[in-house]
Amino acid sequence: MTEAMDLLLNTSLWAAVLRIATPLIFGVLGALLCERAGVLNLGIEGIMTMGAMTGWLAVFLGAPLWVGLLVAALCGAAMGLVHAILTVPLGLSQHVSGLGITLFASALAYYLYRLIVEVGDLPPTIEPFRALEIPLLSDLPLLGPVLFSQAMPTYIALFAVAVMAYVLARTPLGLAIRMTGENPHAVEAQGLNPFRIRIGAVVAGSALMAVGGSFLTMVAFDSFFPGMVQGRGWICIALVVFASWRPGKALLGALLFAFFDAYQLRLQTVVEGVPYQLFLMAPYILSIVALILVARRAEVPAALMTPYRRGER
């Protein structure tokens, strides 16, 4: 028992929390942006896979890491555009289209990977993002290694939370996005185009999801393999609900989730006699429990999953 407590005092645990949370932060922000505009994007799991593969591939083929991030974002945006076209102007079922995007994007990522990359006994690797020690601050005890010795994408993720919170709450653009998710008819009455706002939100949100996926191959690991996203996308969808569609709470949810994930990984090494699968299950079970806890007071965007058609009420 004391060993389990000791783990909590280990700075490497807390540094890992932020690292594990990063892809979730990108993913949950992306999903939140889509849903705030009224479009559920179940393509997230596949879009993250696509981002993980394309970002890695660009670097593998010789591009700098930053270009890899950009490539991932663009490929995610392209997938998002397909989802947006199917669900916004065509008004098709957001559930089915999203699942279709997930199946398509992951299959396409695996196909292109096999086609372009020669895989031997071991998957080929790239030189990933390294931890960026921020001068002076990284020397602080405790806080230094946890907060100020992360890879650059982690800092971007935290910055993105602040940007998303500011844009959604304090800018005319944010107001338009939120309004489109609540009442697209009112948006139209204001002289704005709800179709464009929804398409834009889904495309931008999908780009964020893909960047989250690329974190897995460009920071956390250095290679790509099928099935590596492992439900992180679905967990992001759960986290959006948990966060009541608010960026700040989404950050909190992602950190909380990452804490349990990092902790169970370390618990496995000190607790004996418990099958490791039980530990691996914990994050998924936790997500379901979190959904139940918040379900009663969830403030769902009123027009979420309702396709907007001109002149139809």
Partner: protein
């Protein structure tokens, strides 16, 4: 120019939609095959030959189609009522696990044991979906996320069981469960092939589901709940009861898929026994426009793509993931094609 809702979807359009969708998907995938430096027509020819070219390959394809019929029916039944059961994969494994578990210890003659095991598999799948359905009805928790997350939980649980209590000591360390008693194995449909009577059970299940959906009060209530939940409730249909009934039926069908696969093909359970039968079932259901009879045809098509792609990959070097690409594209093109059956373009 604008879209106008049709009062009735004409039959020829409903039949044409999946064909158009499949053609569009194959056309789009042809670009990817060409990118691999292979002539798409030649590749598709190899696919057809690989899946339908010989007696053996046809039986392999039908063996592959069998679980897809069940998972396709499971998705079709649920989607009709707008119950988004994405947990077919988990329910498949739940059915498979319980079947192997009981089937290893049960002491009963085959004629009694097989129905018991099939029912046990159905019960496991049904219970697994009853949870998310209850959470939706009681707390308003979205069933998409819960059923998806349960897929991961169930596969981990299967892993736990086959490395622990259900480990097969004769499998030389290969993670595999103990096999079911040989008296419970489903008989072969054609001798010396893997094709088993599960196919007939699948076709019978499709017929039965059709009958239930088209000819019973429950079927009508299901359709009403899916078309307009508020109107259905106003008409006196109990939504919770209907949705729970749909969940039990859908889960049972997906559980049956796992049960039949164990009794007919694998005998034991492994975590890799399903190449995504649950997820492919969603595509099957959509290609069938959620119609039980169409599910059988769509399952055969999807199985043809998967079995054919393996052969094509061996012959041409095109990665076999092309099958997943084609199947996923079919889902996307099908929902667009369905749009033309429910709407028409007016100038």
């Amino acid at each position: 120019m604008r879209l106008e809702r049709r009062a009735h979807a004409p039959l020829h359009l409903v039949l044409l939609a999946p064909l158009a969708a499949i053609c569009a998907a194959l056309l789009l995938a042809a670009g990817l095959i060409a990118a691999a430096g292979v002539n798409p027509l030649g590749a598709y020819g190899e696919m057809l030959r690989g899946a339908l070219g010989s007696r053996l390959s046809i039986t392999e394809m039908l063996t592959r189609a069998t679980p897809l019929i069940f998972t396709g029916l499971a998705a079709a039944v649920a989607f009709r009522a707008k119950l988004w059961n994405i947990g077919g994969e988990g329910q498949f494994f739940a059915g498979a696990l319980i079947t192997a578990w009981i089937g290893h210890t049960l002491a009963a003659p085959g004629w009694l044991g097989v129905p018991v095991l099939l029912l046990a598999g159905m019960a496991a799948g049904a219970l697994l979906l009853a949870g998310p359905a209850y959470l939706r009805l009681r707390f308003g928790v979205d069933e998409v996320v819960t059923t998806l997350l349960l897929n991961f939980i169930v596969v981990l649980f299967v892993g736990l069981m086959i490395e622990g209590p259900l480990r097969d000591p004769l499998a030389f360390g290969w993670p595999q469960s103990v096999p079911v008693d040989s008296s419970f194995r489903l008989p072969d449909l054609i001798p010396r092939t893997r094709l088993h009577v599960g196919l007939l059970i699948g076709v019978a299940a499709a017929g039965l589901v059709w009958l239930v959906l088209a000819r019973t009060v429950f079927g009508a209530e299901t359709r009403a709940a899916g078309l307009n939940a508020r109107a259905a409730a106003f008409a006196g249909i109990s939504l919770p009861r209907t949705l729970m009934g749909v969940a039990l039926l859908s889960g049972a069908l997906a559980g049956l898929a796992g049960s039949v696969e164990v009794l007919g093909v694998t005998a034991g359970v492994t975590t890799t026994m399903s190449p995504g039968f649950g997820y492919a079932g969603i595509v099957v259901a959509m290609l069938a426009a959620l119609h039980p009879a169409g599910v059988v045809a769509a399952a055969i098509f999807v199985a043809t793509v998967f079995v054919g792609a393996d052969a094509m990959s061996r012959a041409t070097g095109v990665p076999s993931f092309i099958a997943d690409v084609i199947v996923a594209l079919c889902l996307l093109t099908m929902i667009v094609a369905l749009l033309f059956t429910t709407y028409r373009v007016r100038r």
